[in-house]
């Protein structure tokens, strides 16, 4: 699974959580999701849950800080999935 594949999945999940927003412009950068799609804490938890279910992984609370933008999210997921 490539970084690009993971990014597509993350965007799909965010789009499902935030159907009124256009999530297609989210790039592999360190711009916080909240600045791009106005994600609130409930949305954020939904995204985390959806990622856990999709990849059958556990994302502990302590790691939530890695999930605030696309770049760090992908870094985190790549490492996590590689170690599965």
């Amino acid at each position: 699974m490539t970084r690009e594949d993971i990014m597509k999945s993350v965007i799909t999940i965010i789009q499902e959580v935030m159907p009124e927003k256009d999530c297609s412009s989210i790039q592999d950068t360190d711009v916080p999701f909240v600045n791009i799609v106005d994600m609130d804490s409930m949305d954020f938890l939904d995204v985390i849950m959806a990622l856990q279910k999709k990849y059958l992984i556990e994302i502990p609370d302590a790691d939530f800080g890695n999930m605030r933008n696309m770049k760090s999210t992908l870094d985190y997921l790549e490492t996590k999935l590689a170690s599965k």
Binding site: P19, E20, M42, M49, Q52, L56, E58
Partner: protein, 409 residues
């Protein structure tokens, strides 16, 4: 009653109409809302399904976070407010109350959540953080308050299938107490979204079965064989008469009588004597004689025992009731559970203006054991001077409710 309470707005969604005008038209035209519905575990079942626009008053995100019951409630509340012509911005939001009758709440959401973690070997780390706000008993009322920014009291009234009437009664009582200036009240149901509801009725031998969906719900007919489970909602705007007159509101009718009581005899089987007492209580409170009631909208759900019990209870109060006309709305839409009382009453209220009593569908062979002698069948009946409408709603654990509405003049 210390204050006179009137209905000044109605918002509804029924399996055969998403506003009062369309709903009434369906009733007068004999249009059923019962259809085949794909239930996730049971396959095709008979049900009344609503098709209102979920995103008319809610964003997709809000809908995803909330429940179907609340979505129905939000739709009905907005429609009722629009219908009443009240301008929310002109009111103290703390003086508006939301009182929503429910048969049950949380079963749909609990079932969905449990099924959603089935593929994860029931690992509870996959339980959604949104589960608790969805299943709390006040959810349908609370989401309405959240959506409308109303800061007065909001809660649900769990009263089985009597809940729609009881929502209305409670709203009126809160207005009489002066606790609120506007009551948004009635009932909602999302029960078709849970297989448990269908399965439980089926295993009780109380679920309707018929090869033609529109003919499945047949109250008082010899061939009736059970309930058609439906979803729906109906919320009213109630006000004190003086307030309604001051703003020149259109008044649908005045709540003049009501009764609530309990059988205390069985979990599911109804009790004729207590139903009689409930109706008598409402008639006494209205200060009228039984023969002054022109329309009785029956609770009858199309079960053998329930219909017979209510029919006999009505007979014992009204006798052969030559000038009292019986009708039934479930024959069109099935049993909308927590919404039933409120929704079925709404279907009758236009009678004050159009002079028609809608007929009961599927009444091919009247079951004489029900002792119903003056039921409107085959086609609507035109009458003069309809002054009082009585609406019955009864539920499990023996909860009974009756509401009497008087034409406002």
């Amino acid at each position: 009653m210390n204050s006179r309470i009137v209905i000044t707005g109605i918002g509804l969604t029924a399996p055969n109409g998403n506003n009062l005008a369309d709903f009434r038209k369906s009733l007068l035209e004999g249009k059923s809302g019962v259809t085949l519905f794909k239930e996730k575990l049971m396959g095709d079942v008979l049900a009344g399904v609503c098709n209102y626009d979920e995103n008319k008053y809610q964003t997709k995100k809000e809908r995803r976070r909330g429940t179907r019951a609340a979505s129905i409630g939000i739709y009905c509340a907005h429609e009722a407010i629009k219908d009443s012509n009240i301008i929310l911005a002109e009111y103290d939001k703390a003086k508006i109350g939301i009182y929503v009758g429910i048969t049950e709440h949380g079963t749909v959401e609990a079932e969905e959540e449990i099924l959603s973690i089935k593929d994860y070997k029931y690992n509870v780390k996959y339980v959604s953080h949104l589960f608790n706000p969805k299943v709390i008993a006040n959810n349908p009322a609370g989401e309405i308050a959240l959506n409308l920014g109303i800061t007065g009291p909001h809660y649900t009234l769990g009263a089985a299938c009597a809940a729609g009437n009881i929502g209305i009664i409670h709203g009126a009582q809160m207005l009489m107490l002066g606790d609120v200036d506007i009551a948004i009240c009635g009932g909602v149901s999302e029960s078709i979204r849970t297989f448990l509801c269908f399965a439980s009725f089926k295993n009780e031998g109380a679920l309707a079965n018929h090869c033609e969906p529109a003919k499945a719900c047949r109250p008082f007919d010899l061939e009736r064989n059970g309930i058609v489970v439906s979803e729906g909602g109906c919320l009213y705007i109630l006000e004190r008469l003086d307030d309604a007159l001051a703003r020149k509101a259109t008044i649908y009718g005045e709540l003049v009588g009501y009764g609530i009581n309990t059988d205390a005899t069985d979990y599911v089987a109804p009790d004729r004597t207590r139903q009689e007492q409930c109706m008598s209580k409402a008639i006494y409170r209205a200060g009228i004689q039984p023969h002054e009631i022109i329309i009785i909208n029956t609770h009858a759900t199309s079960t053998p025992l329930g219909d017979e019990t209510e029919g006999k209870a009505i007979y014992n109060i009204f006798g052969k009731h030559d000038n009292v006309y019986i009708t039934n709305t479930k024959s069109y839409i099935g049993h909308t559970m927590g919404a039933a009382g409120a929704l079925e009453l709404a279907g009758e209220l236009p009678s004050f203006n159009d002079g028609f009593v809608h007929h009961t569908l599927n009444l091919d062979n009247l079951d004489t054991k029900c002792l119903i002698t003056n039921i409107v069948r085959n086609e609507p009946l035109k009458l003069d001077n309809i002054k009082y409408i009585m609406n019955n709603s009864f539920g499990m654990l023996g909860i009974n409710s009756t509401v009497i509405i008087k034409r406002y003049e």
